[in-house]
Symmetry: C2
Subunit: 327 residues, 2 copies
Amino acid sequence: MIKDNVSYESISRAARRLRNHIVKTPLLKSQYVNQKLKTNLFLKAENLQTIGAFKFRGAMNTILQLPASVSKVVAWSSGNHAQAVAAAAKITGREATIVMPKDSPQTKLDGTAFWGATIVKYDRNTENREEIGKAIAQKNDATIIPPFDDVNVIIGQGTAGIECIEQLEEINVIPDIVLCCCGGGGLIAGISTAIRAKFEKTKIFSVEPENFDDTKKSLENNELISNSMNHKSICDALLAEKPGNITFGINKLNLTSGLSVTDNEALKAMNAAYKHFKIVLEPGGAVALAAAISGKIDIKNKNVLVIASGGNVDKNVFESCLKTETI
Amino acid sequence: MIKDNVSYESISRAARRLRNHIVKTPLLKSQYVNQKLKTNLFLKAENLQTIGAFKFRGAMNTILQLPASVSKVVAWSSGNHAQAVAAAAKITGREATIVMPKDSPQTKLDGTAFWGATIVKYDRNTENREEIGKAIAQKNDATIIPPFDDVNVIIGQGTAGIECIEQLEEINVIPDIVLCCCGGGGLIAGISTAIRAKFEKTKIFSVEPENFDDTKKSLENNELISNSMNHKSICDALLAEKPGNITFGINKLNLTSGLSVTDNEALKAMNAAYKHFKIVLEPGGAVALAAAISGKIDIKNKNVLVIASGGNVDKNVFESCLKTETI
């Protein structure tokens, strides 16, 4: 497999490679939100991507480049990368084994099973998913598809950025600000590379759950900082322990700084997405919108691109979002 | 104002007229739904249209063609046409007065007020909205924008059909079946005209709420049949008393027959839209999907185009949909 550099050119090539496989997701607007926040906000609806999250881009980009001789893949994930690898494996005629935490949202466990993957459950608190995954890979002679710290995965996620650029150029909009969720940093590494190549002055911010703001802290300290992992968050998709080496290497060049939001702010953003954009977001998928809505950064009179990264959420959590007060 | 005929050509012209004003809404797919129902279903997400429903197409097409001398418009509507006329009036610098039932969903009352319209409330059971609207039009020298039985409104709604045709042609799909909600019949009159011009053999079905299936009965009897209006339904957007003269004249030529669904089937379809398509639908916006899911018609091994027409739904109703069991 060619390990290309992460660049606008390699992301463009991936966009062509993925053209017939991925959904070109829409860029949504709400006049109400814009008037209320005195801004010009565009929401990239990656919840409408295959498997309900952007992760399919990176998984499919990686798996499409595997040699035909590779018949088995393995991955670890709380649920979106799990479904993405399961789907990409199924579509390309491969077997997938996915290591998932026991407390993954049911919808993510169901989604992964739907695509025919073998699921191996582990305990987030006592077991190490990488060790389990690597042992399976060795035993089964399977290829590991990393969740974020991999060049082909990052390039695949970056295709969401290329789409945003095309969609904004069609309406002659240059983004002043980009807000993107950040777990391990794969999505924002890809998107920021694409955006940075086209729009030099755009400020790009990672958005993380409170207490899981390892990228924010790493950017502030210019070195890899880990989360304590003694906290809990409903943003199950964004609970990486620390930034990846590759992703942080890219993000420290591209990002302006990091932001964080509380679980309640994420729920309010899910409610706003329901009410004003008519889409379903999961907590982790709503943190970038949460940063915009909860005033973590001044977005007045600015063109703001917000990435809504996924919509795989269990009913009880969605019911909680409906009970919040939102804009 | 030119009163054009409803034809593929007039709808194409409207699509060009509306290009910079409307959202080209996506055609969504769910592998899960397709596998579960053994079908190939495409969901046109008009809930992502400006004001959260297709109604903006017809209202904007009509209002864009008003002479500049017309500074005031009036309309009656349970809520989606209300918001659509309010928005189109605001955008084109006109004043709108909207006659709405007192029991409209709060989100629709709020949405109409947001666009700066004057709202006049009436009682569905004791008052006649058309009489109230016509009196206001006369008093204020305002132009009436009819909810469905109007050539320019129908042509505007038909632009959703042109988009579906383009989106299906891009992927070389010819629809075997089209399922579309039906209140007064404006949307399906427009869409069926577009579809019929391109795909001769496609079967097109109206879908209505149980007890409000006036188009179904009118098609069966080949004459206008009214609903008794002694029933209730949560599908507030589809409670017209009888088909329009113009819409029925078109629909009786284009439609195969009519289907109806219960409120509970609509709720289950809203849940499926939430779970598998990650979008928010209102009950009336989900009836076409409900017909597909609840087996009202054989969709096995067929290409099925389903119109999801709107997503303006109050929280308590959405919570009810989450409590249903769905596919």
